[in-house]
Symmetry: C2
Subunit: 478 residues, 2 copies
């Protein structure tokens, strides 16, 4: 056992000047938190240059009892990379090599610090697709994506981060390295260690590298903006489209008229592609690596049949890439434009797809009754049952007064989701932000299982302490 002061000296010797950040201006980006809800308090960021260095850093911290906060691109939305006072941030940014691309096996072996967009580009260079895609892809790092089991826009077709990984390399809380970097599609030899570390948000170990699954690169696509009868009709359309298009649906995003109106109002150059106003819209995109699959006609036929069945009210099928991009822009802008409409209380809920309609109807009635004039901006990855049920403040209301009710609205919405066997965090994870919800909504049995795992793998609670797994005392209202 060494003292904390000794440990810092030892760590600095391991990583050298290049891997040591202690200047307050340089520290700033590591301490800031995306939404400004938290602020990190670490005095040092360590940037190891190799897995071996990372392992030695972890061992030094473990020896001295220093808490460690693994950090990727620091783009998370739940405060999972926020550093407590006295902890050391371990940034994986310098571990940014692509170790191997194996097009025949459809795999790519990469280090944790690789930027997601760079990996997408590397896959494309080898005529392959790495499908993970999300708003932060230009700056988030794959290690963080895997540690948080990131979702994004392609989950419906390709799964979330857990589904995109064949193997991992992890530094354990005591500094040992688990080399699980296997490129195998099948390997039935014992417990699934890989999935234990993914989604654990750095609380069980430090992911240093991974074998990613690749897919055939899409060469054809068809995109439509569809007005559906109601939210239930959106779920019906998805179920039909999966079959009728040969399971080629890669995106299926819902947004309501409130969302679309906000986009049309605030984003110059956007237009409503449909002649009339409708209550609910779906952005649907089909993709395939075949060049002769007749995707557009399959989509047209599917939508025509759905219109006959009363599911679809109107639809615009993109006639060009530019038009498809314009449809996408409407959807992508939704996340951004809410800020121009005052305070927004956000939710990242999932329910079974067959119950999304019931969820949105019920939750809308409840929040409108609670605060007349509140504006429901419900959108998201409905193909995964994932709804961002966001609530813009009533027009003219005092914003801080509105935002002070964040916890109350969270509880209303999460209670309704929980009653439908839903989730209060579909893709954003737990971090620090949702520890109270963990305590409130998870069963005692499930919480105790998670605590058992944490205690077993990190008995001294040094790996990203205070995240993901509540040990009591957490409150739900932040």
């Amino acid at each position: 056992m060494t003292t904390k002061v000794d440990a810092l000296g030892r760590i600095k010797a391991i990583v050298g000047e290049r891997g040591w950040v202690a200047d307050s201006a340089a520290l700033e980006p590591y301490l800031a938190e995306t939404r400004g809800l938290f602020r990190g308090a670490a005095a040092v960021v360590v940037r190891p240059g190799s897995t071996e260095e990372a392992a030695r850093v972890v061992r030094a911290c473990a020896d001295a009892g220093v808490a460690m906060v693994p950090q990727g691109g620091n783009t998370g939305l739940s405060g999972g990379a926020v550093s407590p006072a006295g902890s050391v941030i371990i940034s994986l940014a310098r571990l940014n090599r692509i170790r191997d691309v194996d097009p025949l096996t459809y795999t790519m072996t990469v280090e944790a610090g690789c930027i997601l967009a760079d990996l997408q580009a590397a896959a494309t260079q080898h005529d392959r697709l790495f499908p993970l895609s999300l708003a932060a892809e230009g700056s988030c790092q794959i290690g963080g994506n895997l540690a948080t089991n990131a979702g994004g826009t392609a989950v419906l077709r390709y799964g979330n981060a857990r589904d995109l990984v064949l193997g991992l390399e992890v530094v354990l809380p005591d500094g040992q390295v688990w080399d699980g970097l296997r490129r195998l599609r099948k390997d039935n030899t014992g417990y699934d260690l890989k999935n234990l570390f993914m989604g654990s948000e750095g609380t069980l170990g430090l992911i240093t590298a991974a074998v990613l699954k690749l897919f055939p690169r899409p060469l054809d696509s068809a995109t439509a903006l569809v007005a559906v009868r109601d939210v239930y009709a959106a779920a019906e359309l998805l179920a039909r489209a999966r079959g009728e298009t040969g399971d080629a649906v890669s995106t299926f995003e819902l947004m309501n008229r409130t969302c679309l109106d906000m986009v049309l109002k605030h984003v110059p150059g956007t237009v409503d592609p449909l002649a009339e106003r409708h209550a609910q819209y779906v952005l649907i995109q089909l993709t395939t690596p075949r060049t002769d699959a007749g995707l557009t006609s399959a989509l047209e036929d599917c939508l025509a049949r759905a219109a006959e069945a009363g599911i679809v009210r109107d639809a615009a099928i993109a006639q060009s890439d530019a038009q498809a991009k314009a449809f996408w822009r409407l959807r992508e802008a939704v996340s951004d434009v809410q800020k121009y409409e005052g305070g927004s209380i956000k939710h990242d809920v999932a329910v079974p797809i067959s119950r999304i309609s019931e969820f949105i109807d019920h939750a809308t009635r409840r929040v409108e009754a609670e605060l007349p004039g509140i504006r429901v901006c419900a959108f998201g990855h409905v193909g995964d049952g994932n709804v961002h049920f966001n609530l813009s403040q009533p027009i003219g209301m005092d914003t801080p007064a509105y935002l002070a009710q964040w916890g109350r609205f969270n509880q209303i919405v999460h209670d309704i989701a929980a009653d439908m066997d839903g989730s209060f965090s579909a893709e954003h994870g737990i971090g620090r932000l949702k520890l109270g919800e963990m305590m409130h909504y998870k069963s005692p049995v499930e919480l105790e299982l998670m605590r058992t795992l944490k205690r077993a793998l990190d008995p001294r609670n040094l790996m990203n302490p205070g995240k993901v797994v509540p040990f009591g005392g957490e409150t739900m209202h932040h």
Copy 2:
């Protein structure tokens, strides 16, 4: 703490006469092991009629320190359901209800004792596909399939059992029930407990129910038997076919001429669909839920391009369902016919797809050098990198003398796979059979992680003791 005798009385009171099997004739099917390599020694089989009964049985066993062996259809190939003396077998056969089918969410909630083939049929009735498919599907139970992370013929397209489950209900070793039966495509709330229990072969808990993923039902298919230049060409053909057919490849099975010759010799009515003899064959099947996808022409075009590139030597595309079935019969018979050719030493190996060719070439040279006349019958799910590298005895050799070398050949073959970052058990699991391999091939770090998990979740080692995780003293040669 109660005594073991008390515990049996207590358990009998919980399940009643219907759930109690102690008669030696009735016990027999629970004690026998598929390949006759082991024999169970339990004196009692308990058949709970509900999750609650199962939980009470487990609690009674835990209270008295009685070891429990969960058992499904008892069709496993690695001795995972073999009961040690003094243990109680817990059969899930009576937990056989389909609790819910939700076509819109593409899910089905089922109890552990449901027969796999019945679940396939139930999905079909709802115009959906449950893709798990393997030789034992007429008698294996889904709980066993999930506990062993079963593979089968559709892994390439749909993944193995782990990929087909959204939620689980599990009785923990102390008798508590974890209700994780969620129908959510996205739920990022803490550690992945589900994947911990899947593939743990009943050593961490007793799976009582699961939410299964469904898929659109295939409505069109195209099948071909293809002679490829060599094994590397098979991997090349797969990589191309995934792209050129719109990722519609659902089966891609390799077999060499030795396998085909055995089938043609022993199975009446089988014929070689191709005019000439070739060294390596691939059975490829495309499927899609679209009815107008032009699958046969996509397959023809793909094979024609591959022939131009020198990858494909010849191919027969099935012109009818009957012909497709005949091609399938050739492949399916391979597993069976080896027994007519004397002793067969079997392997269930996986390597990265890009290295299958190197693996088969190298392993073939090694075993032929070791025992001239040995016949390599290499076949399997090459689309997953999974090769059943089976070795038929030299013609005329004494069978027991040949089979006495099982361990030696295992080690030769597994060493070569390990050198290629491969797996010594791609889909059959560990059970009792491969504990020695676990000790030999797994890194100390990985073994210790697994032991840590086992100790944390089952500290008294009562759940299927002596399986999956070696605690020392195991030998590799059975």
